[in-house]
């Protein structure tokens, strides 16, 4: 039989496919929910209708994303059992409670207040509605807290003991929840969610500015998203670096794969591009920056960087995938930083809203946050292989006793169904974007408030003259 036609490999492909599809929507709903809460707060404070109109437009986009996140999320919660029952059986005592807490403290909060947030505008008071929006936004963040704790535990397991049959038992909940990589990963992911949303919203509003449609709304959205891009991109780069150093400490072989370094060396260069060859144990055709890798990882030009050859072949992750997904993420980060720098320059020149090449660039950059996020997840998850629980449970020993036949059916079904649903979802989101916000008749006095003039952050966020 073909060497990929086995339940373990097919289940891995299925999990990767299903979770990659899923993570796009929570990432956007985390960002959108917080943004909608800010918009509603601004409306409550200023009573300027523009915030309400943007809210009512984007809450529909939010609800499409949320719906797709929910249906693809239900799939996730059952896959642990259907495809990875050995993992569930062994790790259930430790990560099960964290997942249960996610449902209890986050999912219900989001799902219940979503009804009021979407449909309750005329049924509850303004404050109660804002409260509902806030609860949904908090729910999305609480949800990330638990699920990233679980994921981090799989990378840096702590606070457990193993019984004779290999079942993981809890020893300290604090050590389990706040395992060594958790806070790094949580910060990195939340920032990624906000940035992904900001780039998405920036692309939409840049499109409006270029087409000279919904200009008043577009300016507010563009200014707000650029504010996020300018302030969070540098923070994200710092957070990513800190996360990398944390990975170096706990999963050095992953970092060696990310760097594509085979032989341990002092003063290691950073390979901008290259082609890691696992058979020959070398990285071909690389273009390098001298000393950069040592400098970034060890804070010294001549620091020692460990190479992949320090580990047995069977302990190394698939180097090519990890190497390239990491570079895709870095490339996106560089471009995102560039957007931020241009935005600052344009803001100082008072030409932030003047339609031009920058807005076209922003439109192209729309999916950049999501692309970086997916590439980052591929780096960290593929980089953990061959382990599912790092250093404790091999992925190949974690699968269910199901047949390759069953898993092929489910994999094909998910690919087919997700393609249909995803296309339809994108289509309706674009339709909503094209339709634009429903504008009231307040635009006559448009020139009299702050937005017509070169604006300050104070104008955008706090009030109108």
């Amino acid at each position: 039989m073909l060497d990929w036609y086995n339940p373990v490999f097919l289940s891995r492909v299925q999990f990767a496919f299903v979770i990659s599809f899923h993570i796009i929507f929570p990432a956007l709903t985390i960002g959108l929910a917080s943004w909608l809460a800010v918009l509603e707060a601004l409306w409550l404070k200023t009573k300027h209708p523009i915030y309400k109109e943007i809210f009512h437009h984007w809450v529909k986009i939010f609800s499409v994303c949320f719906g797709m996140g929910v249906v693809s999320g239900v799939v996730m919660s059952y896959q642990f059992g259907t495809n990875w029952s050995e993992f569930s059986y062994k790790a259930g005592n430790v990560i099960g409670p964290l997942l249960a807490f996610e449902v209890l403290t986050a999912f219900f909060l989001e799902a219940s207040f979503l009804g009021v947030m979407l449909f309750g505008w005329d049924r509850v008071s303004e404050r109660a509605h804002f409260f509902a929006t806030l609860m949904v936004a908090i729910g999305t963040c609480v949800s990330s807290f638990w699920i990233l704790s679980v994921n981090s535990w799989m990378h840096t397991p702590a606070g457990f003991i193993k019984d004779a049959s290999g079942v993981f038992l809890p020893a300290s909940w604090m050590e389990i929840i706040f395992n060594p990589s958790f806070l790094y990963r949580l910060t990195h992911m939340l920032l990624a969610a906000y940035l992904s949303t900001a780039f998405f919203a920036a692309a939409v509003s840049a499109g409006y500015l270029l087409k000279k449609k919904h200009i008043a709304h577009a300016r507010v959205i563009f200014a707000m998203s650029m504010f996020i891009v300018v302030s969070l991109t540098p923070l994200q780069i710092i957070a990513g670096h800190a996360h990398g150093i944390n990975t170096l400490k706990h999963q050095p072989v992953k970092v060696a794969a990310m760097e594509g370094i085979w032989d341990s060396e002092h003063g290691a260069p950073f390979k901008i591009i290259g082609w890691p060859d696992s058979k020959a144990e070398t990285t071909r055709y690389s273009i390098e920056i001298p000393y950069a890798s040592s400098l970034v990882l060890t804070n010294s030009l001549h620091g020692k960087v460990r190479g992949l050859k320090e580990w047995e072949r069977a302990e190394r992750p698939p180097v090519l995938v990890v190497f390239w997904s990491f570079r895709i993420m870095l490339a996106m980060a560089t471009l995102m930083l560039l957007v931020g720098i241009i935005a600052v320059v344009k803001y100082l020149n008072k030409t932030l809203f003047k339609a031009g090449h920058f807005h076209k660039f922003c439109m192209i950059m729309g999916p950049s946050g999501l692309l970086a996020l997916l590439a980052g997840w591929v780096t960290t998850e593929v980089g953990r292989q061959p382990w599912v629980i790092y250093n404790h449970l091999l992925t190949k020993n974690a699968a269910s006793a199901v047949s390759a036949y069953e898993v092929s059916i489910s994999l094909l079904a998910f690919i087919l169904v997700y393609s249909i649903v995803f296309s339809a979802g994108i289509f309706y989101i674009f339709k909503l974007i094209k339709k634009g916000p429903k504008a009231g008749d307040w635009h006559d006095d448009y020139g009299t408030h702050g937005l017509a003039h070169p604006l300050t952050i104070y104008d955008i966020f706090l009030g109108h003259k």
């Binding site: 005592n93 006793a401 339809a424 309706y428």
Partner: protein
């Protein structure tokens, strides 16, 4: 570290919690799946809009109980989760796919143009039917028993498919449809309500018929179930259940005929709970029937203890704001779009 195992029977408490979660799921998602099952039979477009609006603010929260059920089974009874999930691999897949088509239809339907709306109407309807049917099949195949070896599933890909599981599948579709119909009676008026009443009086006959088949079939699956229902003196105690069922059914039929608005829904819930109780009596103390008991499958006392703290705090709060949500969207449903 937190451990209540000296003072509390944790597996028993968690067994009760998971049964509560499943019962709440069946009632809540039952009525919105039921609305989906009846959807394409609705007499008019306006009626359809009312039906979908009557559940739009709730379905998401309702489906979360399914996630809770899966999550709690995973966390509190990892062994049972690890045995059952692969055993019903394909039915779970089909259920999930059906739930996807049904879930996205809510959003897409609101946004679609008139001609495409029909596609999402169908997606909503068939998704609901298949999800309900597959849930019934999963239930039936678990009741029948799963082959287990060394605490692992040891059966084949299609073990779940049997005459009994197909019958429980159909029974659940009928049951959810009745819950949906009586929900619509409560949440609508005039034409829609009259139609729902006709549907409910048609469905009640089928529901009772299928309930009877399942009840009479179950004791013959296993001697222990037979003994529990038919041997003296047990039969005397458990006879309460069929008797109460007969009483509830007659109240339900009367309530539908007498044009009551609320009672049909709550009597249908009572009917479901009686069926649930009957199932419990047949299967106790097994979580994987006749292979693994609640106690054997339970997670470590420390895991169960920390979750008990969590659930004791979170569950009342969840019930409170779920109640608030139902309170906000009380009264009859409108046909107009609910988005502002």
């Amino acid at each position: 570290m937190l451990d209540f195992s000296n003072t509390l029977n944790l597996p028993l408490i968690w067994g009760a919690i998971i049964l509560l979660a499943i019962a709440i799921y069946v009632i809540l998602d039952g009525f919105d799946l039921g609305v989906g099952i009846l959807f394409l039979f609705a007499p008019s477009e306006e009626c359809k809009n009312k039906m979908i609006n009557s559940i739009a603010p709730f379905w998401d929260g309702n489906e979360t109980w399914l996630v809770l059920g899966g999550g709690v089974l995973f966390a509190a009874f990892p062994m049972a989760y690890a045995i059952i999930s692969p055993a019903v691999y394909l039915p779970i897949l089909f259920m999930l796919v059906a739930l996807i088509f049904r879930g996205v239809a809510f959003e897409f339907r609101f946004k679609a143009s008139a001609e495409y709306r029909k596609i999402w109407d169908m997606s909503f309807h068939y998704g609901s039917v298949f999800a309900a049917f597959m849930q019934g099949v999963i239930l039936g195949s678990i009741v029948q028993g799963v082959s287990v070896d060394n605490s692992r599933f040891a059966g084949k890909a299609f073990d779940w498919l049997s005459a009994f599981s197909v019958v429980t599948g159909i029974a659940l579709v009928m049951g959810y449809a009745l819950l949906g119909a009586t929900w619509i009676i409560m949440k609508s008026s005039a034409t829609t309500q009259n139609w729902a009443r006709r549907v409910a009086s048609y469905l009640i006959v089928h529901v009772l018929f299928f309930m009877a088949i399942v009840c009479l079939w179950m004791p013959f699956i296993d001697d222990a179930i037979y003994a529990r229902w038919f041997l003296w003196p047990n039969c005397l105690y458990v006879a309460v259940i069929p008797l109460v069922t007969i009483y509830v059914s007659s109240r339900l039929i009367h309530a539908i005929r007498a044009n009551y608005e609320y009672e049909p829904f709550f009597m249908t819930i009572a009917l479901f709970m009686l069926g649930f109780l009957g199932l419990l009596i047949s299967l106790w103390p097994y979580i994987v029937p006749r292979s693994v008991t609640f106690t054997q499958a339970a997670a470590s006392p420390k895991s169960l203890s920390i979750m008990l703290v969590g659930v004791t705090i979170a569950l009342p709060v969840i019930l409170l704001y779920t109640g608030y949500n139902y309170y906000v969207f009380r009264g009859k449903a409108d046909a107009a779009s609910m988005y502002k």
